[in-house]
Amino acid sequence: MHLKYNRFITFFLGLIAVMGFACTGFAEWESLEQFQESAAYPKFLVDNLWLLIAAGLVFVMHLGFATLESGLTQSKNTVNILFKNVFIICMGTLAYAVWGFNSMYPVDNWIWDGVIGKGGPIPDATEAVGNLTSDYADYTLWTDFIFQAMFAATAATIISGAVAERIKLGSFMVGATIIVLIGYPITGSWEWGAGWLDRLGFADFAGSSLVHAFGGFAALAGVMVLGPRKGKYLEGGKIKPILGHSMPLATIGVFLLFLGWFGFNGGSVLSADATLVSLVFVTTALAACSGGLASIFASWMVLKKPDLSMGLNGILAGLVGITAGADAVGTWEAVLIGLIAGVIVVFAILFFDKIRIDDPVGAISVHGVCGIWGTLAVGIFGGGDFLIQLLGTLSISAFAFVFAFVTFSLINVVLGLRVSEEEEFGGLDIGEHGQEAYPDFAPSSH
């Protein structure tokens, strides 16, 4: 969104005011009171409110991830998965407040111009005027922060699912914190922070690359450092699937993610603009639905049975696919983008299993592969320059992969990354937490 560039100027002005400097640039109004009485104020209210509600919807996605991931893993690791998701939202929001937000939107405050922004804590003051933006942006500084903070933790959550059932809790917590604190804001600044990719004209509306491919390829790195779960890949190339323990939880997760995506994409309009937000709702829903259908039928043909978990992944694939161009493509293009994403994800999941990349929830395929596809789709359907789109998505994915690979490798050396075989067998719930997820019910042993 090119509007984004301008809003950082505004944001910066707001920031100055907040910080106690003289407020230089309220273009038209001299005081909050004046602005509130102006005809522009009601629109500002609506825009701001929509972003707050959208932030709430993106928050729902964290519950969606928590239930999806625990549904698709074994009951003996459920407490662990839930704990990680609780930790991620808490840590992610605070890390973003302490450093990430300012690092991702550095305005003029670059460590390395266009590449690495200088972070720092969000302001403390509650002064009203400073937080109000003038004629450029459509929301307050706080709204901006909370909306972006809800996005930030997402990257860590995507990784959480892929490395589930075998990663040491403490090590994961350290790794996730580093990635959210430092890694995610760096690539984020490249585009949304008006960095080098934005300057090249790269387009990633709501983050097919910046959020999803980032998370997916960081997840790939984590999985490669960790290795597969014991007992999944047998000798002779045979695969013994490790079944998720609750399809209702997984399904609840996907419906909640679908819901939250209305805020993820719809809020990324950064205003309540009627035409754009409603178009984004429609393209988002159509791509999700065609992604779901495509996965259902593709997996049905390949596997001979209608597979619920593939249908669920298909919906997510469609959603990830449309994220980069939800504002820029037409309705039937959205359907096409979703259809292709839904087919891609089925084959990507089968492919990663074949090369023994063990991803219990399909996060690499859904977020990584379809994140790239979605970004490229803007170059095909949405008016973006295909080569720049390619360059952008590969840069982001590669950075995420390398950054996470180094992070997890270092943690592996220092703290150890993987639980003992005995703990993996007995489950991380007992091993790491001394708690069971369902103490009233005895899980059956296969």
Partner: protein, 112 residues
């Protein structure tokens, strides 16, 4: 006395229970088990990988009976549990040396 254990298909439980009631057997203990035998399990698919579920759900009924009705009990169970299809299950008869009714301290045949 005999302890008769029958491993049957779960959906036959009700019928077997009623057949036993009809011949005057009023007590039994039921356990859910998994059976492995000639009846092969089915192939399932999860996210693209096939796997075989070998163990099939079965129900084990244990009944303690006096020697004189043991044969009839077995026959009754066989009749009620039979579908004629593979996997109908087995009945095992083991000797029972003593039985106690916890509530009354009764012993032996009067306890069952």
């Amino acid at each position: 006395m005999k302890l008769i254990s029958a491993i049957i298909k779960p959906f036959k439980l009700e019928e077997v229970k009623e057949a036993l009631s009809e011949i005057g057997i009023e007590g039994m203990t039921v356990t859910e088990v998994k059976g492995f035998g000639r009846q092969k399990g089915h192939t399932e698919i999860y996210r693209g990988s096939e796997y075989t579920v070998d163990f099939l759900p079965k129900v084990k009924i244990e009944v303690a009976v006096s020697n004189d009705i043991a044969a009839n009990t077995v026959a009754t169970m066989v009749k009620a549990a039979k579908t004629g299809k593979i996997g109908d299950g087995k009945i095992f008869v083991t000797p029972l040396e003593d039985a106690v009714r916890i509530r009354t301290d009764e012993r032996g045949e009067s306890a069952i």
